[in-house]
């Protein structure tokens, strides 16, 4: 019950968050240097054409009116048209965002699969060889830049060993998974390192807790003690960190998509910023902001489910 009302409250909080995001995006785009008219017409545009374009785009209206129109359009799913690609921004996002989401989710899963068991091994063999080896190798992973890791993986597993494609996206779900594996692994490594360090510390903090002794005194198997009592409590803080890292992950996706030539939202974003394609930048920023907000919502719910005290 407490959990359901927590979810309801948390959903309500989403409304002001989204409103704020809309305002910020609206203002930011208008603060960017250069204006849409000159981006469309080029540097040697005549004043009369600039006025005409501004009128077409509604940019001659007062700002509050522009904002209302902006909100109304978004509410009806109309994000405008790309200046360069001549297609609707909505269709561009629908085309590119799923690729990035797929990449990010895969990266997140790989990071979890790598970090949780290794954090466990490291924490339970604290200070021993396994612990030092795991921490050492993750340290290396953490200190290397994403694009560099990407290039190494690409060279070794793509170009030399031919285990994985060197780029592109593929057709069909499994082919796409196959194409995304190396980029997702690239993206996952630094996240896995961060999660592993956090979870290792959390497990060490929990393992000596009195409730773990109490569980031991009940005569439970160590597997049950470790999963039900230790891991569950340790994961609470790590889940929180994981949610916070998703934004970083999306940022990393921009670089990874560029290195691996993946037609995702990250690459589209870079191209649009270079081309001053404001409607696309605006629409994509909004879409990514919504994705991040939803991730926060999801991790909050997950945390409340793991820790009943949060939902109170």
């Amino acid at each position: 019950m407490a959990l359901l009302s927590f979810i309801a409250r948390r959903l309500l909080q989403l409304i002001p968050t989204l409103a704020f995001i809309l305002v910020v995006i609206f203002v930011l785009v208008r603060l960017l240097p250069g204006d849409p008219a000159s981006a469309i017409l080029g540097d040697r545009a005549r004043d009369a054409d600039v006025v005409r374009i501004n009128a077409e785009l509604g940019l001659d209206q007062p700002l509050p009116v522009q904002f209302l129109v902006f909100v109304k359009n978004i509410a009806t799913g109309d994000f405008g048209n790309s200046i360069h690609l001549k297609v609707s921004v909505a269709s561009l996002i629908a085309d590119r965002l799923p690729v990035t989401l797929m990449l990010t989710i895969m990266a997140a899963l790989i990071a979890l699969v790598l970090s949780v068991p290794l954090a466990f091994v490291a924490a339970t063999r604290r200070g021993r060889l396994a612990d030092n080896a795991i921490r050492g190798s993750f340290q290396v992973g953490l200190s290397m830049p994403v694009f560099y890791v990407g290039l190494i993986l690409l060279t070794v597993f793509g170009a030399q060993l031919h285990w994985f494609p060197v780029g592109g996206f593929g057709n069909g779900f499994f082919d796409q998974l196959y194409h995304l594996f190396l980029p997702a692994l690239t993206l996952a490594l630094s996240l896995a390192a961060i999660l592993m360090r956090n979870l290792r510390a959390a497990i060490i903090g929990v393992v000596d807790a009195e409730y773990v002794d109490f569980a031991r005194a009940k005569g439970l198997r160590s597997r049950v003690i470790m999963t039900r009592h230790v891991l569950r409590n340790a994961l609470i803080s790590t889940i929180n960190l994981f949610g916070l890292q998703v934004g970083t992950l999306l940022g990393g996706a921009v670089i990874t998509e560029t290195v691996f030539a993946i037609p995702g939202a990250g690459r589209l974003m870079i191209e649009s910023i270079y081309g001053r394609d404001y409607p696309v930048v605006q629409g994509l920023t909004l879409a990514l902001a919504v994705v991040v907000s939803l991730t926060f919502l999801l991790t909050d719910i997950l945390q409340a489910w793991l820790d009943p005290r949060v939902a109170q």
Binding site: E210, G219, N233
Partner: protein, 336 residues
């Protein structure tokens, strides 16, 4: 001898030379030093001492719950088997099933993210063959038994939804789920209000009768000992310095430390007497004085107390004391 008396005189738990040493960077620290005692069936044994006297570590050592870098040596015989050398798999059957432990602070001893039901039922799952429905029924029965109102409704609650006294009751319910024969209680009432303390003590005694189990009660509170225990053992600096029946030890302490402890407890009765306290502080376990560990604080100390450590010796049936001057202590106690 009949079978009845046989079991009555056979200790439920027999501890011999229990020694727990922590390897620290500053050298080994002996928290429990060659402690031996028996617990009879149905008996409540009080383990008394100031904080740092090693009484809690003793309790944890019995169940092999001492954390690294602690090392436990000696023997802990339970039904003829040594708990300290038995395999992990067998030990699991004893833990929770035969011997249960409750801690001082229920807030830290209960897992904050699991419902009370899960925490009771996992004990039942480990030690009984009850099915899901029976486990639930048993969980309700247990909560009811320890005096939690509306037990069925509270089954799905989390520990933080209970008050301190109720949490302690929940912990007791969890510990007793599988009908243990021996309950180890580590200051179970210290964290509670005085009125709640009384209720919990009474509950533990009632449950002792109900389950016909033995209890080892660790406490620094002599009032609690007088109220609940049959026999007591006084610990100082990791060793037992005096033991005997509660009545005997209270009426005629033979160790100066016991005498000091008793002097610091207000007693009911007509006569008003001054409360005394023991001068000084208990020694750090890393720097236990040579000879008798109590000598720096002792009014009776003489040359040989500094040179040699007195052994724990029987002075009467069921009475043990570790003091060279125990006769003088007892004589003076009788005189005042």
């Amino acid at each position: 001898m009949s079978a009845v008396t046989d079991t009555a005189f056979e200790p439920a738990l027999s501890v011999k030379d229990l020694t727990t040493v922590f390897e620290t960077p500053g050298g080994p620290v002996t928290a429990v030093d060659a402690v031996s005692f028996d617990v009879m069936p149905g008996e409540v044994l009080g383990l008394v001492g100031e904080s740092g006297s090693g009484k809690s570590v003793t309790l944890r050592s019995l169940m092999r719950l001492v954390h690294a870098p602690g090392k436990v040596a000696g023997t802990v015989l339970w039904q003829g088997r040594d708990l300290l050398s038995m395999r992990e798999r067998e030990l699991r059957r004893v833990r929770g099933g035969k011997i249960a432990i409750i801690f001082q602070e229920p807030t830290t001893a209960l897992n904050p993210v699991l419902t009370v039901r899960v925490q009771i039922e996992e004990n039942l799952r480990a030690h009984t063959s009850l099915d899901g429905r029976q486990r639930r029924a048993r969980a309700i029965e247990l909560l009811d038994l320890v005096g939690i109102p509306a037990a069925e409704r509270r089954l799905g609650d989390f520990p933080h939804q209970f008050s301190g006294g109720m949490k302690q009751r929940v912990m007791i319910a969890i510990a007793l789920a599988s009908n243990p024969r021996l309950l180890l209680a580590d200051e179970p009432t210290t964290a509670l209000d005085v009125t709640i303390q009384d209720q919990i003590l009474k509950l533990i005694l009632d449950l002792r009768d109900e389950f016909s189990m033995s209890v080892v009660f660790v406490t620094h509170d002599l009032g609690v000992v007088a109220q609940t225990c049959d026999r007591m053992a006084v610990m100082y600096a990791g060793r037992i310095v005096e033991s005997g029946s509660v009545t005997e030890v209270f009426s005629e302490p033979h160790h100066p430390y016991t005498r000091g402890l008793l002097g610091s407890v207000p007693r009911g009765g007509a006569e008003r007497t001054l409360l005394t306290s023991i001068e000084g502080t208990p020694p750090s376990l890393a720097a236990i004085p040579a000879g008798c560990a109590f000598h720096p604080r002792c009014d009776f100390a003489v040359e040989r107390c500094i040179e040699r450590r007195p052994a724990l010796e029987a002075i009467a049936p069921g009475r043990m004391v570790a003091c060279f001057r125990q006769a003088d202590v007892a004589a003076e106690a009788a005189a005042t």
